[in-house]
């Protein structure tokens, strides 16, 4: 396998983090005449050359459909695809490769759990417990499910800092709650939720927990078995892999009990008009031709992350986040949104009464890419009574210069609106 050969070279020489920026071709360009400062990785990260090349190499030399062919290319494609599954398993510490289901992303993973795990067992009056800081992807699937079943969506409150009120969350875990679905890291606020405590409390009451790990995976090192999460969902495109690929981790015992989510090729052992036998785990949950190149890209991204070192990445980002927050606090009229003690890689803010969208435009004009708006977390905006925020988010390739450029561009913004 060309691909794993390449990877082992990488793993052999750990890369200093400052050198990593050069691995990302997307960062080496001018936007509006200025070198790009990319502070929007929480929306989607840039991909390193090794990922882009792994995908292109696969398409050039190894592509065929998986699982179905006796010929060499099909075999190669299957090995690469299944190799990516192994990489994911190891990356998040899952007990078995059968617990790793490829999906389009976090959103699909959560929908899968809502429809396959929850829907068949919900009665009217049952409850789904989430928090007020969730991304729409961890709200809307549950709202749809409630509509379908008569279940009730219960929302645990958050504090002014943007941290979940854990005590209240736990108090809400009564015997009608059928699942607790919480973010690992809030995409709008950066808060890291106290998952161990939450999961322990839920398990104490025999309630399974789904963790939306979309914002956690590129920044923290995850061990689903230590966390004891029942379901853990995340997206490739936020961890330097391509779009269109993501993961649902689920405990085997739970997957076993779930009917398939979609029907089609690959997820069956035998199809008869008088009865069809489903395939083994995890294939039962992967109907149709999967996103093979996406999975291979995800595998390459994991190897890349490992080669840099998850601890180094976390340390670098924490330093940088502290510098970002300090620098923003130095600006008059700034209001930080999301000030929990325990945070990762994201800072939302407001500047005077300038609308975030206007900040975004002026920053973009200076080559600085941030996200503005509700960040798919409208309830968080409602909580603070604001229409949206400006949000700078960090990844391993950012540095202090990026932040200095952001601060300068914010000064320019104030000037225009003075």
């Amino acid at each position: 396998m060309t691909h794993s050969a390449k990877v082992s070279i990488l793993t052999a020489e750990p890369r200093p983090i400052a050198a990593c920026r050069a691995d990302f071709p997307g960062l080496a360009q001018e936007i509006n005449g200025e070198p790009l400062v990319y502070l929007d990785s929480a929306a989607s990260s840039q991909a390193p050359n090794v990922v882009i090349d792994a995908v292109a190499d696969y398409q050039r030399h190894d592509h065929a459909n998986v699982h179905r062919g006796v010929h060499t290319l099909s075999h190669r494609a299957t090995d690469l695809y299944e190799g990516a599954r192994d990489a994911v398993q190891e990356f998040i510490g899952a007990g078995s490769r059968t617990e790793i289901v490829f999906t389009r992303g976090t959103t699909e993973a959560i929908n899968l759990v809502a429809q396959s795990y929850c829907r068949p067992k919900l009665d009217a009056g049952d409850k789904i417990l989430i928090t007020h800081l969730e991304h729409h992807s961890n709200i809307v699937p549950w709202q749809m499910l409630c509509k379908q079943t008569g279940a009730e969506l219960v929302v645990a409150p958050i504090e002014q800092t943007g941290q979940v009120d854990t005590r209240q969350l736990i108090e809400l875990m009564d015997d009608r709650v059928r699942i607790v679905a919480v973010a690992h890291v809030s995409n709008a606020l950066g808060s890291i939720l106290p998952l161990e405590e939450i999961i322990q409390a839920a398990h104490h009451r025999d309630i399974p927990v789904l963790v939306d790990g979309a914002q956690a995976v590129p920044h923290l090192s995850i061990d689903v078995r230590t966390l004891d999460a029942d379901f853990y969902a995340f997206s490739g495109h936020k961890m330097f892999a391509p779009t269109g690929i993501g993961i649902l981790y689920a405990k085997e015992a739970l997957l076993e009990t779930m009917p398939p989510y979609q029907g089609g090729g690959d997820m069956i052992l035998e199809v008869r008009f008088d009865g069809t036998t489903y395939n083994e785990l995890p294939y039962k949950f992967e109907a149709g031709t999967p996103n093979i190149s996406g999975a291979i890209g995800l595998g390459a991204a994991i190897h890349y992350l490992n080669s840099v070192g998850l601890d180094e990445i976390a340390a670098h980002e924490n330093r940088l986040l502290a510098y970002l927050t300090r620098s923003l606090e130095g600006i008059d009229d700034i209001r930080l949104i999301g000030t929990a003690d325990n945070k990762a890689s994201v800072q939302s803010f407001l500047l005077g009464d300038i609308h975030p969208h206007d900040i975004g435009t002026i920053l973009d004009h200076q080559g600085v890419a941030i996200r503005t708006g509700h960040h798919c977390a409208m309830p968080v905006m409602d909580f603070y009574g604001i229409p949206g925020t400006a949000r700078a988010s960090l990844a391993l390739y950012n540095n202090e210069d990026d932040i200095d450029r952001l601060i300068a561009a914010l000064a320019k913004t104030k000037e225009i609106f003075a």
Binding site: G33, H357, I362, F417
Partner: protein, 162 residues
Amino acid sequence: MKDKDTSKADELRELYRELILDHARSPRHFGKLTDATHSAEGINPLCGDKLKLYFRILENGQIDAACFEGSGCAISVASASLLTDTVIGMNTSDALDFFAVVVSRLRGDVDANNGKRAAIDLGKIRALEGVKEFPSRVKCASLAWHALNSAIHQDSQAVSTE
């Protein structure tokens, strides 16, 4: 470098002209019209703009009063403010012509309107034309206009610019 910087700065100044900033800071006709005959909501999910426009339209088609409320970026608020200023006193068919011209000019298709519409003078609405260099802001500038259009047509659904 000087030149580049100047022309870049000019683009921003074109977008955020004094007139725009003034209307954004002190929007005209801001509030709810309690005896509105027509109204419509405009939502731009991209930046969270959410405006509600109210009109009192007389039997003869004349727009007698116009108001708006909600929140949005400087461009969308200024645009709504300029809109209310402009359409009060117009009749609905002129307002619809105006809508068509504004929306196509903001997009940059100058040729899209011929005949009668070509002759329409946008007046101070021209201050919005700075968005042409900022494609992602065209939606902000045209949001209120789409709401006007749907209010006149009495569409009940919220308009979205997505």
